[in-house]
């Protein structure tokens, strides 16, 4: 199942799953999943807990190997790549993990600087590291926390620091695993604001996994206004430009792929549950 966005010329493919199946201890985690993400597109992956959303992201990064099928990232087949050759591909992907996954033993400065210092393909001059870390933390409104350790920050602040770490290298593909899970509504909105800001500033391809429909709705219908520094509804041509597609996962299978209007028109009870929770 692939969907072309609104009759426009197809953009280069950034990520492509071809009949990917993943099993954990004999249990099916992904069942014959195929989809494609093109340049500058946003994909919102909805699904209940345990539906395989996170596995999609981890498979796309080569952290989980498929049992069958192929995964192509930036046109390269990563299915059989060695861990070392995957490092180069991974340096072009920014990933926000579900629980932030900041390194406990390092302070925020070291955490955010980690990709700059450890990814071989990223040649960052040593004197540029600190200014870039400060800039990335400024972006997520966390300036002044350089010396703090992750345990000293609140859940929302940790999530923001993890976003800074994920986007500091300006990767062309950005993946967010349940960015708002476990956060209060106000903090969740702030995080979504940041992700939309990052998407609109970097024009990167974005994959967001979530079980909250309102996150996807924000992603599809809002844009970041750099003049007043806030989100505003995207209308008409701007909305089409956002190119947001929705995917719905259920028990490891991809059961829906399409734009928001098609999603809301669906009569599948599993799918309708997601957008009805908004009301």
């Amino acid at each position: 199942m692939t969907a072309e966005s609104g009759g426009k010329a197809p953009l280069p493919s950034v990520l492509r799953f071809e009949n990917v199946t993943v099993k954990f201890d004999g249990e099916m985690a992904l069942d014959n999943v195929s989809f494609e993400a093109n340049e500058a597109e946003s994909l919102v992956i909805l699904g209940a807990a345990g539906s395989g959303k996170t596995v999609v992201l981890k498979t796309a990064m080569g952290l989980v190997r498929p049992d069958s099928g192929r995964v192509l990232v930036f046109g390269q087949d990563i299915t059989r790549m060695t861990e070392e050759s995957l490092f180069d591909i991974r340096s072009r992907i920014g990933m926000l993990f579900q629980e932030s996954a900041l390194f406990d033993s390092m302070n925020i400065e070291e955490n955010v600087a980690y990709p700059l210092l450890n990814q071989k393909s990223i040649q960052c001059p040593p004197d540029q590291v600190l200014p870039r870390v400060e800039q990335a933390l400024e972006f997520v409104s966390l300036a002044g926390t350089l010396e703090k350790f992750p345990a000293e920050l609140s859940g929302g602040m940790r999530r923001r620091a993890a976003i800074a770490r994920a986007v500091i290298t300006e990767p062309p593909l950005q993946m967010y695993d349940s960015p708002t899970a476990g956060l209060d509504p106000i903090t969740a909105h702030t995080i979504m604001e940041l992700l939309i800001k990052e998407r609109d500033v970097s024009r990167a391809t974005t994959l967001m996994v979530t079980h909250r429909y309102q996150d996807g709705n924000l992603m599809a219908n809002f844009r970041y206004n750099s003049e007043n520094g806030a989100l505003e509804p995207a209308r008409g041509g701007v909305r089409r430009e956002l190119r947001t597609r929705f995917m719905v996962m259920k028990q490891g299978r991809l059961i829906f792929e399409g734009d928001q209007d098609r999603l809301e028109a669906s009569s599948d009870p599993y799918i309708t549950k997601f957008f009805k929770q908004r009301e």
Binding site: K58, M61, L63, E83, E84, F87, R90, S91, I93, M95, F97, Q98, E99, A101, L102, F103, D104, Y114, P115, N118, Q119, K120, R165
Partner: protein
């Protein structure tokens, strides 16, 4: 029918694969010097108090026990002899390794296990670092370096503990005690006493890392890994101790 055996055999295979990768990484770049130094501090310096205390008291109690046994043969004067050999060949390496296993195999398993369940290991891989190179190899190097040193300290402190007992309760002169210690120890005993902790160090660190990295199931899983790591490390230390001792005895006889 053989299905129940499948999981343990696969686990053993995974353990050897992890150990192989960790050993290979010793000779490959990048080397994380800071991590090695930090682990040496935590494993070596951190274990010093407990190792000194265990060494001292085991040496002291061995002296009391041996003196009593030897008095039946009128050989109390040779207590230092027996104590030195027992400490250098057996008690020093085994007791020290067990203390370090209790302290560090569990510490390593819980630290790496927590990192695993909070996706920090995945994040490390995602950010261009091999977790074996960054986390396992430094712990292996640090333990292999520090454990033999700790054993040397434990054996010395234990022999000194024995001396205090010999001096206070057995009324042996320092010359009698230290003379018999010196005469008893041969190069072979030193070699056995240093080879054992080196091998036990591989067990202590690799078992900790192995159970840590295969943790699943949240915080409960971390607790389970920690317990399994300590139990497995201690049992393996005893099994390997018997094997190594047998090889040395067989060599001496040959």
């Amino acid at each position: 029918m053989l299905d129940p055996l499948k999981a343990p055999i696969l686990a053993v295979q995974d353990f050897f694969q992890l150990t192989g990768r960790a050993l290979r990484n010793v000779f490959r770049t990048p080397h994380y010097g800071d991590d090695i130094a930090m682990q040496m501090d935590s494993i070596g310096v951190g274990s010093l108090p407990v190792v000194v205390l265990t060494g001292f008291f085991s040496g002291a109690v061995m002296t009391l026990q041996m003196a009593q046994a030897l008095s039946d043969y009128g050989q109390v004067g040779r207590t230092g002899n027996v104590v030195a050999i027992t400490l250098a060949r057996e008690l020093g390496p085994v007791l020290t390794s067990i203390m370090v296993a209790g302290r560090n195999s569990s510490g390593i398993a819980s630290e790496l296990g927590s990192m695993k369940v909070t996706e920090q290991i995945d994040a490390m891989r995602a950010l261009g670092t091999d977790p074996v190179q960054k986390l396992v190899t430094p712990r292996l190097i640090a333990t292999c370096f520090m454990l033999p040193l700790l054993v040397v300290i434990a054996v010395f402190v234990g022999t000194f503990g024995g001396f205090l007992i010999a001096d206070w309760f057995l009324h042996l002169t320092p010359r009698q005690y230290w003379g018999s210690v010196w005469r008893a120890l041969a190069w072979k005993d030193i070699a056995e006493g240093l080879l054992k902790p080196f091998i036990f160090a591989v067990v202590v660190s690799m078992i900790g890392c192995f159970y840590g990295l295969r943790t699943t199931g949240g915080t409960q899983g971390v607790g389970r890994s920690t317990t399994q790591a300590v139990v497995a490390a201690i049992v393996l230390i005893f099994v390997l101790d018997l094997l190594i001792t047998k090889i040395f005895v067989w060599q001496a006889a040959g």
